[in-house]
């Protein structure tokens, strides 16, 4: 089965500035793929090139198994970062219009729109207009417009921006449901905990270049220090191989940094066999994505793009 998206060496310049510079990645079918990066990193430009809204100066893009064509548009749904809705048109009518532009029968599109609005707790506003809705409600309507035609490929930019936890959960569940129905989801997102919870793989772009790419857990482990996090009683500094002891803010968990010759397994064995230590929990110190993002976006790791355990796209798209 071909990948949902294959991007090979795309570059887009505006004047002297490269908005996207030699970026390569692939998105597998049926996965939730997350695109990360600071503001202005080149994520939206990359998405627009995938959608053929703008064209790359060089490189190749394949979407759903072929170069982008008009036929591709009917198979994908796009939620842009900057939301775009008609403020003075009834919701069902507007969603019907978006559905019709995706090739749906107008009546079928309006029926589906009504159903989606019910699922999004907006059933009471079917005849209402966007100007009557709150920001969160508008956001849900925008999401409905994106999925009205049940796309195979969903590209969503900041899907949770402006949503409260309840509505975030509603949208999140809809995304999971779409994925379970076979859709591929590409989301550009800033909420790192959502990436950790939802995404199978990620791509991070910084200053137009790819700086992180791979499975979420793999990337986190790649950035893990040689350290463990423990809670319990004992003289942590006295342990052989421990070169640093750092309690967290409330003092419950302690991070033990290890020297290069000591592994977490050895520390666990020592603690298990020494009666002077009482252990309540023991875990590898894997950094949160948020920390990795800050480190990378801060310029620390150009690095990871060429790291040996990063999965590389080794073939060109057709």
């Amino acid at each position: 089965m071909t990948n949902a998206i294959e991007v090979y060496g795309i570059t887009k310049r505006y004047g002297q500035k490269a908005a996207v510079d030699e970026v390569t990645f692939e998105v597998k079918r049926g996965e939730i793929f997350s695109m990360l990066g600071p503001n202005g990193a080149g994520k939206t430009t990359t998405i627009r090139m995938i959608l053929d809204i703008i064209k790359p100066d060089s490189g190749k893009i394949s979407v759903l198994g072929a170069p982008f064509s008009e036929a591709t548009k009917a198979r994908l749904g796009y939620l842009p970062e900057e939301r775009g809705l008609y403020k003075n048109v009834a919701l069902v009518e507007m969603l019907g219009y978006f559905g019709a532009l995706k090739g749906m029968n107008r009546r079928a599109a309006e029926q589906r729109a009504a159903k989606l609005l019910d699922e999004l707790d907006l059933g009471a506003y079917k005849k209402g207009k966007v100007r009557e809705l709150s920001r969160g409600m508008s956001q849900k309507v925008q999401f409905a417009a994106t999925i009205i035609h049940q796309p195979e490929l969903l590209i969503i930019d900041e899907p949770f921006a402006g949503l409260d936890p309840v509505n975030t959960e509603i949208i999140k569940n809809m995304i999971f449901r779409l994925r379970s129905e076979g859709a591929t989801v590409v989301m550009s997102i800033h909420e790192m905990h959502q990436v950790e919870e939802m995404a199978d793989r990620l791509l991070m772009i910084h200053q137009g270049r790819r700086v992180l790419y791979g499975e979420v857990d793999e990337v986190r482990h790649r950035y893990a220090e040689n350290a463990v996090i423990v809670s319990g009683q004992g003289d942590w500094a006295a342990l052989r191989g421990v070169i640093g002891v750092q309690p967290d803010e409330n003092g419950r968990n302690i991070t033990l940094r290890l020297d290069d010759q000591t592994t977490p397994d050895q520390i666990m064995a020592m603690l298990a066999n020494d009666p002077n230590y009482s252990i309540r929990s023991f875990a590898l110190a894997v950094p949160r994505l948020n920390d990795i993002f800050i480190r990378v976006a801060g310029g620390e790791a150009k690095i990871a793009a060429s790291a040996p355990n990063v999965a590389e796209v080794r073939h060109e798209p057709a």
């Binding site: 505006y14 627009r48 959608l51 809204i53 703008i54 064209k55 100066d57 008009e70 548009k73 009917a74 994908l76 796009y78 842009p80 900057e82 939301r83 775009g84 809705l85 008609y86 403020k87 003075n88 048109v89 219009y97 978006f98 019709a100 532009l101 995706k102 107008r106 417009a145 994106t146």
Partner: protein, 424 residues
């Protein structure tokens, strides 16, 4: 094609239901008609002449005569330039406000001296034919009214019992069958004047319709840029399909507006004066009609494409409105030099202006009204207009695609050239 239709349908109904459009398109004609009838009612428009008609006892009660209510007003004008009549039928002895002449030659002489503005000849066989001939010097809506003659004739006819079927029909319709006649060169001038007025009206209508509905097109493009709906739309269809769909919708709105206004104007004109179009000397040939329609349609598309370019380049409605002056001012040039079109329609200036796309819709319309324009010139002008329109539509779609998503500011001229060359 189906996507263009989808956009067309959505945009048409969205705009037509807008309060502003509805108010202008439907409200203005309704208000004009209401105002017209209100004024007419206030000025005693449909008086029952026999009962209250100011001493016109020669008409039976209950007979209404259209235009009779304007008699006092017309009489004032007639006092300045009265009309005359020659009666061979023997029906009329005298008619208030009309001067009686014994022969057409006497009436013609009075007309040529400027003593009267027109005269009627009622033939000997009037009771059989029902026709009255009218002779006039030049078209002037305000000074020609058949009401006095009409009243007198109908009053006389109602007293008779030997009326022909034609006359009975006219009597039932309470009107006259007047055959217009123009007098020599003056009449020719009158026809030209009439056509020129027609051309002016047509051109004004074209400009007004174009500039209002093209404004809607620009506004619609701006709106989608401002609310960012355009990005969602472009992930569903090609920019040019979006542009064409909008363009066609706005064109339909413009035509709807024009048809309603024109229909209202014709209706009110028909109500306001008892003159038929041919009486006022209006003669439109098939060729002229083709030219008018061709320039209206192409002119509409041309100006629409220019507005679309502005809509593609500007980022908000305020900027768009400022830049629209760039279109309006050159388009009005033929009006500024209208004298040249009347006096020397085939001189270099009118010919050149009728070739330049931005001025040709007005310029050629004006020329065609006062002279016979060679078909070669018309076709060349239309080709230039059509070709430029196609180029501008392409350019608008191109700029729309390239510029819409990339910047939050209006580009400078050098940026436009770069955008045209740039890969989208």
């Amino acid at each position: 094609m189906s996507k263009i239709w989808t956009v067309f349908r959505f945009e048409f109904f969205r705009q037509v239901l807008r309060r502003g459009y509805g108010l202008i398109t439907f409200g203005v004609p309704i208000a004009a008609i209401a105002l017209f009838f209100l004024l007419r009612a206030l000025s005693g428009g449909n008086v029952e002449v026999g009962a209250t008609g100011g001493g016109r006892s020669d008409l039976p009660p209950g007979v209404n005569i259209p235009g009779a209510g304007n008699v006092s007003e017309d009489s004032l004008i007639a006092q300045a330039r009265p009309m005359g009549f020659v009666d061979y039928s023997g029906l009329l002895t005298s008619v208030p406000t009309l001067i009686r002449y014994q022969t057409p030659e006497q009436a013609l002489a009075a007309l040529q001296k400027g003593e009267i503005s027109a005269y009627y000849v009622i033939a000997e066989d009037y009771l059989q034919t029902g026709k009255v001939e009218a002779f006039y010097e030049r078209f002037n809506l305000g000074s020609i009214s058949d009401a006095p003659l009409q009243q007198a004739l109908l009053g006389a006819l109602l007293k008779r019992t030997d009326l022909s079927p034609q006359l009975l029909v006219l009597l039932q319709a309470r009107t006259l069958d007047i055959v217009p006649n123009a007098i020599g060169e003056a009449a020719s001038q009158a026809t030209e004047n009439t056509n020129l007025i027609l051309a002016y009206l047509f051109a004004m209508l074209l400009l007004f319709t174009v500039f209002t509905t093209s404004g809607y097109l620009m506004q619609s493009l701006m709106e989608e840029k401002e609310n960012r709906a355009v990005e969602v739309l472009l992930s569903s269809l090609r920019p040019r399909d979006l542009l064409f769909g909008k363009f066609l919708a706005m064109s339909a709105l413009g035509l709807l507006q024009m048809v309603l206004w024109l229909g209202t104007a014709i209706f009110l004109l028909g109500q306001a004066v008892s003159l038929s179009a041919d009486l006022i000397g209006l003669t439109i040939t098939t060729e002229q009609l083709i030219v008018l329609v061709a320039y209206f349609v192409l002119g509409y598309l041309f100006f629409g494409s220019l507005y679309a370019i502005i809509g593609a380049l500007m980022t908000n409605a305020r900027e768009g409105a400022q830049f629209s002056a760039v279109i309006v001012l050159p388009a009005m040039i033929p009006f500024y030099v209208a004298v040249s079109f009347v006096n020397t329609p085939n001189a270099p200036l009118p010919v050149i202006l009728s070739m330049i796309p931005i001025t040709s819709p007005l310029a050629m319309t004006l020329r065609a009204a006062v002279t016979i324009v060679p078909w070669g010139e018309v076709l060349l002008s239309l080709a230039l207009l059509g070709g430029t329109t196609l180029g501008f539509v392409w350019l608008a779609a191109r700029l729309f695609r390239v510029n819409t998503l990339l910047s939050g500011r209006a580009p400078k001229l050098r940026d436009v050239l770069r955008l045209v060359r740039e890969r989208a």
